[in-house]
């Protein structure tokens, strides 16, 4: 045998079930490169454990999460607030990046995604492990994301414990069952340390999601569905924005502004004009009020803006306040101060005017 033969490295060999777990992990960061639907819809018996080669390759795939987050607009030069000061640059320049940590939830979720036939919700066992770390939350978020526009997304939202991840609520409040986590510490983890960097990188992604849901409200006809959706959104935004204030990171709630900006610019209010008229008026009224969840988030920004205007040059958080004033300026130019309370008042009105705000809007367009 020659020396060359000795140096030849055999390709890593894993079991077929392990190969699918690795593919699922890779699909989280590069869904376009793999048959995600095939992985989600199919089912496969899973061995109790995975081998070291599989563990290593899953680890390699998860190492790609940060680059995947930067690709979601985190790479664009921007500004963040750190310790009351404004930091400029790309995502990795203005933040201290630490490796994402994962609990057993991540592997359990990947196994569950491969094991269960997610296209048939009735045949799916619930996952019992809960997300514990920011890394887990990112995986939960991306799992919901890769299943977008497939029936599997609903099954993942309902049966995989992702509803315990505040980050999943931030992106998918319209899908998740029950209420978002109540513990303020769970939300604080999203606005401090690594969690804050993740949310910072997802700003545009979150804005697009919220805007899409906002536009969808206008076509909803089931008031009960709208009430549930509005409650989830209201609690998510309230708890997240309170956490932002506690951490001095109101810039992380900037996606609310980005989501609303095109709607304000085109005067598109989230009025649900097609609510089922056979339902009681009390239920329809509750649904109309619930439709204003994002508007209430925007109203909170208006309130913040008034406070930021009062911060003087000599005050500690003057620099951060100036950044936040600039952030709100575009919304103010489009009449946020007037339109938001007026729309909220119309939603709560005794006899709402019908047919208002009937313009259409491109969901995929960037905010102006």
């Amino acid at each position: 045998m020659s020396d060359d033969d000795d140096e030849y490295e055999l390709p890593a060999t894993v079991a077929a079930s392990e190969a699918e777990i690795i593919s699922m992990a890779r699909a989280l960061t590069a869904p376009q490169a793999l048959d995600v639907w095939g992985l989600l819809a199919g089912s496969r018996a899973m061995p109790a454990k995975i081998g070291p080669t599989c563990a290593e390759l899953v680890g390699d795939a998860l190492d790609q999460l940060w680059p995947a987050l930067w690709r979601r607009d985190g790479a664009r030069p921007g500004t963040s607030i750190r310790a009351g000061k404004v930091v400029r640059g790309r995502g990795w320049e203005r933040n201290t990046i630490a490796p994402l940590e994962f609990s057993p939830f991540t592997l359990a979720l990947l196994r569950w995604l491969v094991e269960m036939p997610l296209a048939t919700p009735g045949a799916v066992d619930k996952l019992s492990t809960r997300p514990m770390t920011i890394g887990d939350q990112v995986v939960a978020y991306l799992a919901l994301d890769v299943a977008t526009e497939t029936p599997a997304q609903f099954t993942i939202a309902r049966s995989s414990q992702v509803a315990h991840a505040p980050l999943a609520w931030l992106g998918f409040a319209h899908l998740l069952p029950g209420d978002p986590p109540e513990d303020p510490k769970a939300w604080d983890a999203l606005v401090t340390g690594t969690g804050a960097v993740v949310v910072d990188a997802l700003q545009q992604d979150l804005a697009k999601r919220w805007r899409t849901v906002e536009l969808g409200k206008r076509a909803l006809s089931d008031p009960d569905e709208l009430v549930k959706l509005g409650r989830g959104q209201d609690l998510t935004l309230t708890r997240f924005m309170d956490a932002c204030t506690r951490a001095g990171r109101r810039d992380l709630a900037g996606f609310v502004l980005d989501a609303m900006l095109p709607l304000l610019a085109r005067d598109v209010a989230p009025f649900p004009n097609d609510l089922d008229r056979t339902k009681p008026l009390s239920v329809r009224m509750a649904a109309r009020n619930a439709a204003g969840a994002l508007l209430r988030g925007m109203a909170k920004w208006c309130e913040w803006d008034r406070a930021h205007r009062g911060v003087r040059f000599l005050d500690d958080d003057y620099e951060a306040s100036q950044l936040l004033l600039m952030r709100f300026e575009k919304s103010a130019r489009h009449g946020a101060d007037i339109l938001v309370p007026a729309w909220l008042a119309q939603l709560a009105s005794l006899a709402p005017p019908s047919g208002s705000g009937s313009a259409t809007i491109e969901v995929s367009k960037e905010p102006p």
Binding site: T278, P280, L281, S282, M285, A345, A348, S349, L350, A351
Partner: protein
């Protein structure tokens, strides 16, 4: 050899049902004066519209049964309409069964009759509720206009009072669009 018999069951029910629908909405009252004074001025306007003052509430029950309650402190209005109805239904079902299975057939038939009665009552109750909802919905547009007018007059009264606090009122002019101009000599 068993004999086949015809089993017939008749069930009837008479039930009094109450259905109700209602909404609550905030009132847009400008804070021209202190909240307590604004509430007083609104209460005065509402009393002129037939409302009865009951502490922090102003209430009115219209001839069509619509109950309107204005919470002056919280600045909200609640509107509700209820209806009572005595519903009666009767169901008669029959089937053929072997004589030995008469008791079981009768039990099954009775259960089916009760289910049928419940479904019919639920449908009638729902129809009654929809009637109440329709009636209430038609009323709301007028009521909104009436309340807006009362709030507008209360606001003008508040502005006048505020102007008096600032100086001597020289002229109060109003146009058809509802705009009011108060000239004050300081």
């Amino acid at each position: 050899m068993s004999r086949a018999i015809q089993v017939r069951v008749s069930e009837s029910v008479v039930r009094t049902v109450h259905v109700e629908d209602g909404v609550q909405s905030p009132l847009e009252l400008l804070p021209v004066l202190a909240p307590e004074r604004m509430a007083e001025l609104l209460a005065k306007e509402l009393e002129a519209q037939g409302f009865k003052r009951d502490g922090k509430l102003a209430k009115r029950k219209d001839p069509d049964g619509v109950e309107i309650t204005v919470d002056l402190e919280a600045a909200t209005v609640s509107v509700k309409l209820g209806a009572d109805s005595r519903l009666s239904e009767q169901v008669e079902l029959e089937t053929r069964a072997a004589v030995e299975g008469q008791a079981q057939a009768e039990t099954r038939l009775r259960d089916a009759a009760i289910d049928e009665l419940e479904q019919r009552l639920a449908a009638k109750t729902e129809a009654l509720r929809r009637g109440v909802t329709d009636k209430l919905e038609k009323k709301l547009a007028d009521l909104r206009g009436e309340l807006d007018a009362s709030i507008g007059r209360a606001t003008v009264a508040a502005l006048t009072e505020r102007a008096e606090q600032l100086g001597k009122i020289e002229e109060i002019a109003s146009d058809e669009a509802g705009n009011v101009t108060i000239k004050v000599k300081l």
